[in-house]
Symmetry: C2
Subunit: 464 residues, 2 copies
Amino acid sequence: MLTYSFTDIGSDCLYIHLYKCIQKDILSGKLPAGTKLPSKRSFAKNLGISTITVENAYAQLQSEGYIYSMPKKGFFVAQIAPPSKMPVPVPDSRTPFPAASPYQIDFVSNKTNPDNFPFSIWTKLIRETISEKREELMTTPPCGGIMELRMAICDHLKAFRNMDVTPEQVIVGAGTEYLYGLLIQLLGFDKTYAIENPGYQKLKKIYQSNRVNYCPICLDEEGMSIRALEASKADIAHISPSHHFPTGINTTISRRYALLSWACQGKDRYIIEDDYDSEFRLSGQPIPTLQSIDQSERVIYINTFTKTLASTIRLGYMILPKHLLERFYSSLDFYSCTVSNFEQYTLAHFLSDGYFEKHINRMRTHYKNVRDQLLEAIKNSPFSSRIKITEEDAGLHFLMHIDTTMSDKELLQAADRAGVHLSCLSQYYLDTGETIPEHTVILNYSGLTPDQIPDAILLMQQFL
Amino acid sequence: MLTYSFTDIGSDCLYIHLYKCIQKDILSGKLPAGTKLPSKRSFAKNLGISTITVENAYAQLQSEGYIYSMPKKGFFVAQIAPPSKMPVPVPDSRTPFPAASPYQIDFVSNKTNPDNFPFSIWTKLIRETISEKREELMTTPPCGGIMELRMAICDHLKAFRNMDVTPEQVIVGAGTEYLYGLLIQLLGFDKTYAIENPGYQKLKKIYQSNRVNYCPICLDEEGMSIRALEASKADIAHISPSHHFPTGINTTISRRYALLSWACQGKDRYIIEDDYDSEFRLSGQPIPTLQSIDQSERVIYINTFTKTLASTIRLGYMILPKHLLERFYSSLDFYSCTVSNFEQYTLAHFLSDGYFEKHINRMRTHYKNVRDQLLEAIKNSPFSSRIKITEEDAGLHFLMHIDTTMSDKELLQAADRAGVHLSCLSQYYLDTGETIPEHTVILNYSGLTPDQIPDAILLMQQFL
């Protein structure tokens, strides 16, 4: 009869040890398919263990399909053929985890300075949420997000952007990138999406990655070119009219109307309005949204709390035109909302208790201060005569045009050597045969602190 | 000269009031394109306000493109053509927000009972995270998630599933549905995805919504049919081998090897292994994963904390085979991680400090208790002679076969009337011409409390 040693049992319990011994013999072929296993009782007696131990081992082997039972006949080894091993493609040696940033000064990343995040209020609100909303926290939210948050977003949009929208129109998701993907599913994989050139590079990647057609459309000083848009095959125009990234262009009212007219000329035409940093217009009033002047339900408005709160809180939202709601809810409401209830309730409080408004005001003052000090320092720097600043009034970045003989590539390399993370306007252009402006760098000061400014100027001197 | 009244100014400040008056006249055509506006000084004098007020109003009008300036000539009204209004499609009257659940007993939803969520530990860990990790909380994580969480997931998988994986292979995302979408982008929109029939209905919807081909493959008692899979055009098999939903079938070891062999027969073939509730196997050992016996890097393992922690914490992860990492990181790492740093760090603590293990053990005991009481109550019920229970050993649901003359539709209607939320096995079948088993209901007891059981039995008596 089959026999096994229990001396090398290690930390396993008896039945697991027996299970492993039999499993090994089945896989090695020592116990070929069809072999009848000893009856539980005689096997137990032979091994000097209890019948229940054998029974448990057999049960586990049976549940995994190593053995099968035939009524009144006992247990038999199943037919098992391990697959012949396929050669495994050698993984690329490139490590996916880059080391920590080698830069002393970073004019590119959107990292929120920890000093600027309202940690104590946030902690208080999370604590309150957890103690007051146990039942709600565990209740599956509608696919568009919890009602409290969607209502709070409506109130916020009314107060800050003069937009009249209902909670049903608000769809909350784990960041705008996720929402763009959802929009492709809503509007169609067969549509062509117009993106701004130059523009936010991720959009191209998202449309590419979803295998949909996109076309880069050039800008003039008023915004996306209507002529180029009309000459394209685009169905959807994806734009940032209130503060174009990276040029800073604010789409004029006449161009806004022209874009809306374009959208009205086809029933499947829509405009995706990305309003990503309108909260940080540093002089004058915020520019009214395209959504708020749209009379024909052609605009899908998108915004995020990434810029205003922290890039590491993944929470964005979109406002769907009313007539698209039925399509959305009938075709996409099987998706679970991608944002945790804990953060949705906390943010809802943060908005409706007025903390967000205070935070935005504080941040606007902070950024204005950083910008003013940076502009002043640049003005007083040795390189001030060779540069020109534009688009400094809207939030979180401006353009610096440099009089230099270096190419943009050389400029970036020199900045790199000096420990300054910079990007050039030319990097945001897709090559469509147009003239690409050189020697214009984008200074994103959102991660800068005032005390870093003297260092930033000293380091920039090394290559300017 | 142009003149405006300041009597109906409301809560606006002076310049905003003036801006609105001029804007209104431009949009109404009262100030046609090309009209020269009064000089700031004379306009101010005429209106009895300060020059700076006129200047601010002009600046706002100019920034929005209502007027433009010509050097030394002054300000002029821009050409603006509001779009002709397009008829707005009438929105459907259907409300997207269903009222609260009308059911007294719910055997369908996955809602976590608030008593079962470890609120106090979770609150403690969030508080610690916020006080200790301010810098890290604000640092943009790699697209696959923060390293601490990915390492904690590796340790967990080693301890509980005997899987050897590295943090680079772990990709964290806002729920498995999001990760499925990412996998389509990684593996290809041109591939055909095999799904289980019967099976988890969302998969069909996700593949449909992403416009990729999918084919339903029937199951036999060992798991997904190899013959049907081989006869299909599938490149990717999406399965739940450890506990099939809804039948509860556990794929046998020989079928697992056969599936791996199938995957080895084409270089673009992969298996997506959804291990969604393996933590709750209520008797014997957990079934080893397909990933752990895969020698040829053909398996993508997916799991979530939805079942184990709460359905409202959106956090899932997938384990990519090593040779796919390069493709993933070169084509998809532009995406931001969809889970907030706050929850990633909190969960990392929860895992690495041993709380998760304790929680799982506690929940396993809880669910076993609920299941045993429910089975006992069914056994002692007046309808016990007309039912048969199967697949009760693996977690959170079992099947109840009913001897009845009612159709499944009638059965569900009767349950509805009694206030019991039920689903039938037949609802999970895609119509592919096969025989669909009738009179089998799925009892998901994850949201049930022991004290609800007597009521549940009484209500079921009304229709059984």
